[in-house]
Amino acid sequence: MAETEKTKDVIKASEIDSKFKYELLKMPGSEKILRCFQCGTCTSDCPVARFSDAYRPRTIIRMAQLGLRDRVLNSETLWLCAACFTCTDRCPQGVEVASVIRVLRNLAAEKGIIPAIFKEQANSILNSGYAYNIPELKIKKRESQGLPPLPRGNSESLRKTLQGIKFFDNIKKGSSTA
């Protein structure tokens, strides 16, 4: 995924959706987003930010607070968070930074922006219960390794419990990839 991203552009008033932050306040994980006072603890402690020129959790939080809905949801850097939860644990204001990023990713996914790896894993889970396509050979090898048979997934039952969730409808439609 390309890592070049403009975050320092001038913000146009027309880009701002003033209702966005109120939507976020209602979603589990981002309820405390308005408490962020931009101290930067999240970014300075972020392991990904050390090696990425573009990923800055503080910037993402500020964009969300300002209501830059499209810019933040279309941002490729949103998908770089490693979910190590260091930011969440160290935020002096109690903002669950990693969870805010998860909420934003979920909203992007609802728009159909879903990196390929998540589609692969979702399909694999629907088919086998497992997030990876475990080769039959590997499953058979377990006996010679002295391991018990691998429990199987119940695809039919899984599909029933997950049907109607927007994300699964989106991957069925084969929507665009981030």
Binding site: V48, F51, A83, D89, N106, A131, Y132, N154, K160
Partner: protein, 295 residues
């Protein structure tokens, strides 16, 4: 005290990290922990949390509901699974509206979440159920000749609000368990830093840079091996070590062991039974050091 658990393997271990499962089953059996297999399996939900929080909740709750039907607590080897199942267990127990919403989904599969089981990672079972004293007593070959670096990984430590097991800023459980079998657990820079695994597939560059940074710190500390308790961390350091060496022109040769492999050696279980041959980075110098010392 409970000594019977439903074992939740997760996806990564049967897919790529069988040495962890083989060695964990060996040591747990010897320490009197009985494992029962899941009657049916689905992913804990964590991989889908970034794209659908709701799907994650349902997948995790399904597993908890299945464990409840069996009347058994869950033991996981993967901290990602442990963290997810613990978190969802806590969330659904405290939020009735959310519980009802998820249960209306589970009803489609004739399942119901009630909130009657607990979830523990193997490290927690070793620490809390077996206990350090019993582990010390089980040691027949103290590994005093070994100086190793530990890597707990993120999901067994953070977010502390839901995990609440070890100190995320200064974890000591794995160190204590390493010292309990006679080895030295070295301090090094960035012990609690992420291995990079979750960034694989989104930015392999960032992922491998993170793993490289950790390997550099471990090398500087002159550790003879790196000890992990997570399948993903293990893949980053063991499976990818050669790739990182080539990519960044580094030399490590640092064996990466699953803690149960190390524990098994100290308990006198032969290396062949602990799947040392499945490791990508050659660990024969560790085995040689252990065997020579025993003479």
């Amino acid at each position: 005290m409970s000594s019977k658990y439903l074992i939740f393997l997760g996806c990564a271990i049967p897919y790529r990290v069988s040495a962890y499962e083989i060695s964990a089953r060996k040591v747990l059996a010897k320490l009197g922990i009985e494992l029962v297999e899941m009657p049916e399996f689905n992913c804990c939900g964590l991989p889908l949390d970034p794209v659908s929080h709701e799907a994650m909740l349902i997948l995790a709750a399904r597993n908890l509901a299945i464990a409840e039907q069996q009347g058994l607590n869950i033991l996981t080897l993967c901290p990602g699974c442990a963290g997810t199942l613990k978190k969802v267990n806590a969330l659904l127990k405290k939020d009735k509206a959310l519980k009802d919403q998820i249960n209306s989904r589970l009803k489609e599969a004739d399942l119901e979440f009630k909130g009657t089981v607990e979830v523990k990672h193997i490290l927690q079972v070793l620490m809390e159920d077996v206990g350090v004293e019993k582990i010390k007593k089980a040691v027949v070959k103290p590994l005093t000749m070994l100086k190793v670096a530990e890597h707990v990984g993120c999901h067994l430590l953070r977010p502390k609000e839901y995990i609440g097991f070890d100190n995320p800023e200064d974890p000591h459980v794995l160190k204590t368990l390493i010292e309990a079998i006679g080895a030295t657990s070295l301090d090094y820079i960035g012990e609690t830093e992420c291995c990079g695994a979750p960034s694989v597939g989104v930015s392999d560059k960032v992922a491998l840079e993170l793993a490289r940074e950790k390997l550099n710190h471990v090398k500087k500390a002159s550790a003879q091996a790196l000890v992990t308790i997570c399948p993903f961390c293990h893949i980053m350091f063991d499976t990818n070590e050669l790739r990182i060496e080539r990519m960044f022109n580094e030399t490590y040769g640092i064996p990466v062991l699953h803690y149960p492999q190390l524990l098994g050696l100290a308990m006198g279980i032969p290396a062949e039974e602990l799947a040392f041959n499945e490791l990508r980075v050659d660990a024969s110098k560790i085995l040689k050091a252990v065997n020579e010392d025993a003479k």
